[in-house]
Symmetry: D3
Subunit: 251 residues, 6 copies
Amino acid sequence: MRLLLINPNTTVSMTEKAAKAARAVAGVGTEIIAVTSQTGPASIEGYYDGALAVPGMLRELKLRQAAGYDAVIICCFDDTGLDAARMFCDVPVVGLCEAAVSMAGFIAQRFSVVTTLERSRILIDNLVQRYGMGARAKVRASDIPVLELENSSSGAIGKLRATIERALAEDGAEAIVLGCAGMTDLARDLQVLYGVPVVDGVAAAVKQAEALVSLGLGTSKRSSYAAPLPKPFLGAMQEFAPVSSIEVSGA
Amino acid sequence: MRLLLINPNTTVSMTEKAAKAARAVAGVGTEIIAVTSQTGPASIEGYYDGALAVPGMLRELKLRQAAGYDAVIICCFDDTGLDAARMFCDVPVVGLCEAAVSMAGFIAQRFSVVTTLERSRILIDNLVQRYGMGARAKVRASDIPVLELENSSSGAIGKLRATIERALAEDGAEAIVLGCAGMTDLARDLQVLYGVPVVDGVAAAVKQAEALVSLGLGTSKRSSYAAPLPKPFLGAMQEFAPVSSIEVSGA
Amino acid sequence: MRLLLINPNTTVSMTEKAAKAARAVAGVGTEIIAVTSQTGPASIEGYYDGALAVPGMLRELKLRQAAGYDAVIICCFDDTGLDAARMFCDVPVVGLCEAAVSMAGFIAQRFSVVTTLERSRILIDNLVQRYGMGARAKVRASDIPVLELENSSSGAIGKLRATIERALAEDGAEAIVLGCAGMTDLARDLQVLYGVPVVDGVAAAVKQAEALVSLGLGTSKRSSYAAPLPKPFLGAMQEFAPVSSIEVSGA
Amino acid sequence: MRLLLINPNTTVSMTEKAAKAARAVAGVGTEIIAVTSQTGPASIEGYYDGALAVPGMLRELKLRQAAGYDAVIICCFDDTGLDAARMFCDVPVVGLCEAAVSMAGFIAQRFSVVTTLERSRILIDNLVQRYGMGARAKVRASDIPVLELENSSSGAIGKLRATIERALAEDGAEAIVLGCAGMTDLARDLQVLYGVPVVDGVAAAVKQAEALVSLGLGTSKRSSYAAPLPKPFLGAMQEFAPVSSIEVSGA
Amino acid sequence: MRLLLINPNTTVSMTEKAAKAARAVAGVGTEIIAVTSQTGPASIEGYYDGALAVPGMLRELKLRQAAGYDAVIICCFDDTGLDAARMFCDVPVVGLCEAAVSMAGFIAQRFSVVTTLERSRILIDNLVQRYGMGARAKVRASDIPVLELENSSSGAIGKLRATIERALAEDGAEAIVLGCAGMTDLARDLQVLYGVPVVDGVAAAVKQAEALVSLGLGTSKRSSYAAPLPKPFLGAMQEFAPVSSIEVSGA
Amino acid sequence: MRLLLINPNTTVSMTEKAAKAARAVAGVGTEIIAVTSQTGPASIEGYYDGALAVPGMLRELKLRQAAGYDAVIICCFDDTGLDAARMFCDVPVVGLCEAAVSMAGFIAQRFSVVTTLERSRILIDNLVQRYGMGARAKVRASDIPVLELENSSSGAIGKLRATIERALAEDGAEAIVLGCAGMTDLARDLQVLYGVPVVDGVAAAVKQAEALVSLGLGTSKRSSYAAPLPKPFLGAMQEFAPVSSIEVSGA
């Protein structure tokens, strides 16, 4: 089984950290193909960065088709471009937020998602509502710029711990979801430290992708995720024009 | 990894069918320990049957502790006794409905759950709402008594197909979830027949249980799923009294 | 009119306290038949205790059929086994939580439910959401083990008052609902003390049961509460097998 | 116990029919004081009629204070002026819709409300949502002008039956709520005819009012239903000016 | 374009302040016809005042028909009598709360509404939920009686600022909505002071009314806002009886 | 006032039709600057097309900054890239769907949105839910490819009418919202034909943009729409890198 893990931002160190985390939990026979977007922002902090990361992410989906992949993981907790990728693919496409909050739901009735900046908090809260967890999960920001997570001396971990401690004390959280791909290496230690389940989106997405593939479940091509219709694409986006709806299938 | 698959009804043929389905999708190194409740109803059709199936299911959880298990699957689409089992265990406990609708959410925006009798329809609709999928999923009954699914000449499959066809035509369903453990053997064929993803709860639960175990995620023991408090249990239920909160841990 | 008040836990002093409260508010001509479950936990603190209390509660329903009853009150604020009892009976079955939050809705737009332990808080919050009061009611725990309410020197009342005071100060509560059957004797004094309506579940359930009976309204036998279907029940649960659907009627 | 039943429309025959229904279900010792508004529309069909019925209804509340009453029933299924009356009174005030859907919730998980004209359907649907029953109840109009219910040869009953039959066939309704005060005399026969519980708002409101009074529960005077503040009222409305907040108390 | 701005309370200074605010934002060619209700409370603080303000407001709608108007603004943040007015008119009718929260939604994802007294807070919270903004907006009271806003030395502005500051600090508010018509003159200064958008309901309603009129959009006369049906109105309300459904049209 | 109307697809005839519609409703002194994206799909049918249209849309926002604009209209009913544009701008940014459903809410309690293809139906339904209109609006597809709306002999209008007629007959719709920018020229005729308000998104967005600008309300820069943070953008997206947060302001 080949899982295409795409980092939709252009920071290679984040891809490497996520790939390491993904490989650490991948099942026997699962190959993680980790790729970094070649075009777009160095980190995704809010809707603007996110929107400009999508074409680079879709390009990787397209470029990797020849080699083939059985599922896709979009390695950003904002689930950047998730719906667009699902239209492009017929294999499953998994986002970190959807995977993490789904898994948290099996082990806790109420939980808190701890993310980076205030500007991402509402974005993730909207996702959590869309995924049906609005009455069960609270989202908190830690005031950590994403790239500070790449720098162990940035003080980011202290801020993250303080936010988790507030979630446990004030929200009645039974579990913690780490709300940024860049926090993937911290989950195990935090789980030991606080004695509650700590869910990491990268790991969660790997397991959800494996689960879907092993059950033969792909993205439904009926209605909202039907393959893109053939039509002209002008200018720099020309490369994305589907010639026919057959061509857009996954591996 | 040892997964304890408990059929909370007392019909051994259903356990065997589910165990077969579970083993067919289990990962390398996953052992399925399939057990049938020794006390309670032969099938679970509504709340009364369900409530009376829980002690038998919890007894299996207790009896199997010595031998050990890494996660539990409650093999009924009503998620019978799920919350009680999560209090008893610190390993993950997975229900078929929660697992199936979670997985359907990754591959379809709108889907229909097709279950057996009208009396189970609202029960499952309430579960779907609790799991946050109320705005995305419609539940339909097929007018099939559960045990007719054990009898290939019962006409059950014809009724099931008719119901799926209505869901596709009238609900805008992008995927189908089979809403009874006894339908587990039909998923693949129906998926081929209708060309949309068909999610089976048994298979979904196996993969969710494997995912949780492999990530080291257990049931949160903070707040709503905290271990049962030691206290007297009278009469026939005496066997279930927790002597101390330490004793109730899983394998 | 004969109301069967079943305490689903096995602590007789709680039954007696509840029976006294029930008789104090019962109408002319209403007889309260108070029974204590003979099997199960001494108190219900969370889902595990609750699930194991249901068979004992259902047994009382069955045993008392010959003598007859016009409605049933399940005397626990967790509404233990409510749906199962409604399938068994065609007379009305009333739970304390549903009765209390319904009545609070007539006299206040926003209110707080004050319960015992943190482990019961989310359970009751889920009930409140199911009963449609999620946007109007907040649930708070007082850190009181249920049986401490049976002991006047336990300090339980002090904790309860402190929690009510926080609800009034922080939640904008216009009324208070007491979220445990064991608090039934405290409602009047607290109402006087705080000058807001204080709703007790036992009293509320008696009045709702009387109301339903006097209007000739029974549990609907169409769809989700249809009588249990005849089928084999194995082992210790054999006594609960419905022989035919006629037999399951109430008095 | 004295219950003030106010018909907020000015049609005396509707008051008499409702009073008869109320007295038929009232408990021993309950006196029904039935009054008809002296000013406003002859029937309440939509928001305009409703708004213009409120002052006449409030005047009755005020005029009857000297004689005293223990609770108020607003005898219209639109719950006309319910919130205003609750501010005026410290005794309980009960509306037909809130009472009926609350009682239906104890005996059925899903039900349909059958009302008169299309223009009242959304109004009632909004009430049902506010009372937390939006996910459980469907509202249907029968195309019956309210006053046709006063005329036995109008064909109204045929239309009502047809609507109930559609609710049973298409909505999965487990119970029926009659959505107009003028239907109060039909409930028992329809319940026998269709074999499902049929809830009448007049009867439901009487029992809820009795329940609240007998438990010593009045309208909360904290926050949203606090007594009107003393202030000038000009023109024709001068009579409604509260001189002081003490004066506005109920009987 | 002629906009009829009706102050449903009887305080002329509030009408004048609102008219000034309305004229300050009205487009070229928009005439603001500001009228004060001649009957009812001097301010609207809660449901009782509101209900008794409606007939006076509807009378102005009727009296001004001969002169004609193209849209109506009900100049109270409680949206007093909004639905009744929409039945009466076929021109658009706009309330301050609906206009303000709609406009806030275009410029902020989360915002807080700051109103006067606690007794109005839940009333407005219910409106906000009805308008679909319940998950996006929080309502706060400032403990300011409405008429204190007419008196610059009352300390009202200090209380208002303190409430806004709490909303910014604790709610994560991205914008502020002023929840009383009497605050209309404060919006611009507060926007400068706090550096976030501050939405005033009077101004918002003028622009929404202009927008609807210029697009030829009137109140739908199908279903819930259909014109009042001809019927007798007794007593003091006789003046409001629609003779025929044609007569009730707006200008 | 200068409104920048950006067609995020690359079909100039659609821009021209929308610009014509916009100018027809624009107020005195409003200049419509209509621009067509230079890069991306010829029409937006689903998430894939939408995501690939965003960079072209954002480029127009950036290119037009020097000349200045007071508000932005994104001329697609999918509200393509709306959140990203709001981060980029401090002037208001208005989408067609949000504008149209907001305006429909003032004139109807229940309405239907009639869009093009099935694949856009759920996308728009999700928007409608996010905008708080999920309980009030139903979305229907007409099976019309977007570009068929550019061709008067395509049969598109017949399909659209048939869908509107079903919405009126089956949904109880009180108003119709046209769910595609390409339908903008049809609104007036359909309103006359069906006698219910018909809301066009292009016209609605123009009026909402004018309203916001004239009130001095811009996009909140606090929290979720704060200006993009300066950071490197690699590859083809380099042009979008904000050098500093000051530079990203609108005109």
